[in-house]
Structure formats: C-alpha cells, structure tokens
Symmetry: C2
Subunit: 227 residues, 2 copies
C-alpha cells in the first residue's frame, strides 16, 4: 500500500472541485474585475495546472455564468422574510443593489443568468398579493425588474470607476460626482449645475430606494410622493 496523505491535511490541499473553482473565480473577480479572472491566475491560486480546470469547467464562459449565478442564489432567500408586498419589493431591490455594489463585475454578466425570470416571479407574486389588477401586473413587474437590475448595475459600475480613479476626497459616494457637476458650465448644464449643491446629503442607496418608491407610486401601491 502506498503512502496515504493524512486526512487532516485536506485543509492544506483540498481536492479540486467545481465549487472550489467557482469560489476562487469570484475572489479574483472581486479583486480585479473581469480582467482579473484568468485561467493561469486561477491555476496558481489553486496550486494546479491551467489545464486541470478544464476537467471541471467547460470554458471561461461557463465559469463566468456559474460565478454570476452563485452571486444571486443568496438573494432568493428574501422569500422567507415577512412583510407587506411593497416592503418586500423594497427589500428585494435593496439586496440586489447591495450584491451588485459588492461585486461590480456582475453588471455586464446579467444576461447570462435566468435570474431576471426568477426576479420577475418574486415581484409578480407580490403585486398579485397587493391586488394590482391582472392586466397591469406584467408591465408593472417587468418595469420594476428593469429598474432594479439597471439602476443597481449602473450604480455598481460608476462606484467602482470612481473608486479606481482614486477620488477619495469625499469618500466614494455621490459627493465626488457633485463636485464634478458643480464645475460644469452653467449655460450648457443649467439643471445639473444647479442640482449639484443640493445632493450633498444624498446617498446612492436612498436614491435607489426613492426610485423604487416612485415606481410603486405609479403602480398605485403608494400614496402621492410630495403631498
């Protein structure tokens, strides 16, 4: 019988597995974005050869799809929370917003997932519960999904661009943007220039929630915004 490795040594050199590969891919993506995910970097971090990965994963496309899917699974747990339909929709929106903020590489990968369908389902159910008339349900649900995914994805990319360009004077919130806007030509950009001063205390997350509320108002689930 040849030497067997000590079973306790697992922690040092765990077996290569699809799950471990995907998890490591997510680490690389979080650290350096899409261009940080490389089969060679992955192999190094897993202390294996580049070719070994192909035994568990068909190609980079499949790897990116699996990594994207992995980010969304936890969000589906929102199903278990207990709240009114509008509150639940807000919570769903916020958890998507936060997930994409934490993993900005997701945005461009969104079309890989069947996740838009899952989200349409979650939100559609809430609209039914809230008594939205049947003919309006589809439009309302798909508009909410578009807004939640679109706004979250843009916020994430903008935030990571801001972070990368080293603007740290006023944290990486809307503040930096406000500074830039204040310097725009007031003749060419009257609205943006004027608004620049007023958004100092705004925060991206609240801004996003306000957008969701605007939609819920249009759908008829909320009272008028500025009474």
């Amino acid at each position: 019988m040849p030497d067997r490795p000590n079973p306790r040594a697992e922690r040092r050199q765990e077996a290569l597995s699809r799950d471990r590969i995907v998890a490591t891919a997510v680490e690389l993506l979080d650290a350096d974005g899409e261009q940080g995910l490389t089969f060679r970097a992955l192999a190094t971090r897993l202390s294996t050869g580049a070719g070994a990965i192909y035994w568990h994963v068909a190609n980079k496309d499949e790897l990116l799809t699996a990594a994207t899917d992995a980010m969304f699974v936890p969000i589906l747990d929102v199903r278990r929370i207990n709240a009114s339909p509008p509150a639940k929709i807000r919570t769903i929106g916020l958890s998507v917003f936060d997930a994409m903020d934490a993993h900005p590489w997701i945005g461009p990968q969104l079309s890989r997932t069947s996740w838009q369908t899952s989200m349409l389902e979650l939100i559609g159910q809430q609209l039914q519960l809230a008594g939205v008339p049947a003919p309006a349900q589809f439009t309302a649900a798909s508009t909410l999904v578009s807004f939640i995914l679109g706004a979250s994805s843009q916020n994430a990319v903008n935030a990571s661009v801001r972070a990368a360009s080293g603007t740290r004077s006023r944290s990486d919130s809307l503040g930096a943007v406000a500074d830039r806007w204040a310097r725009l030509d007031p003749d060419e950009y009257p609205f943006v220039h004027q608004i620049a001063g007023a958004i100092g205390e705004h925060d991206d997350r609240e801004q996003f929630l306000a957008g969701v509320d605007l939609l819920l108002t249009g759908i008829g689930l909320l009272g008028q915004p500025t009474p």
Copy 2:
C-alpha cells in the same frame, strides 16, 4: 517633382484618420460585438498595419470610449423637437432604446461616457418645465435616467442573445420568451407561467414606453394608469 496621386483616388484609399478608425470600429462592433473589435481586424479592413492605428488612438480603451460616444451624439438632437415635457421625455427614452437595440455592444460600455450627465440634464430641464417641485426634481430625473439606460441596455443584450441562439420560430420579440415561460414549472413559477400566455401581443418597445409612463405617473406628470 515626384508623381502625385490623382485627387480622385481618395475614395479608393482615403487617408487614415481617427474618425475613419472609429467608424470602422463601430462596424466591427455592430457585426460581431466586443470580441469582434480587434486591432488586427481593424488594420485589415483599413488596409494598413496594426501599429498604424496607435498613431491616431492611444489604445483599445480609448477606441471603445470614442465608439460609444459616437453612438450617443445623434441622440442629443432630440433637443430640437417640439413637444410637451412628458412627450419629449418619452422621445428621449425611445431614441436611447432604439440606439442600444441597434448597437447592443453599448450596454457594458455605458460607464465610459459622460453621457449619463447629458441625459440627466436633458430630462431635468423637462421636469422643471413641467413644474415638478424642486426638491423632487433630482430623484425624478435620476430615476428616469437609470430606468431608460438600464432597461434599454438589458433589452438590447437579451435581444442579441436571443438572436444569436437562433430562435427564429416567432421572430426575436417577446414571443420566444413567452414560449420558454409557458414551459416553466407552474408550482415554482406561478406568476411567470400564468403571464406567459398574456404577453403574446406585447412588444419590447411598447413595454419600455409603458415603464416610462409608470414613472411619469409616479412623478405626477400623468394621470392614473388604469382608471
């Protein structure tokens, strides 16, 4: 004096220029997406060497930014149309939607442009004209921008994925999606499954417009949706 080329020959072999490079880049992007844009492919199509391009353009990043900017410039002409603020906002939205539908590679490039600011300006001005109260203007404008860019970008990517996967049975509209939805497990996807039959006559563009209207309603510029 050495031979001079016939001035009429310009059309056969125009001088290399930044504009010509960007225009050719857009052709490649339209044809094969982001992976279709290659310095070698570009050089071949311009019948020049790969290195020549670097005299006019710093690198691929700058080229992609220039290409993206070029797609948005025409949209700004919307400024010249003459209509009520809500109608003008709808028109702005539709022209963005159509531009992204025609050039699906734009979506992931959106963060390159200062175009989000230009759009915020355009829409903000309309909201001011429409009499939206000042404290609500910024939230309303930025929600509209997020929705318009986000929904357009997702529609474009979805549509091009559908087109690429060769689903031609029911054109590349929502029909194909409806078929897939109808086949989902009704227990896991009650809402989506049920809605599948009802969206046969919907069309992506109308769906998008309905979303804009939902927001305009929430903002208070439109009457209630289902009276």
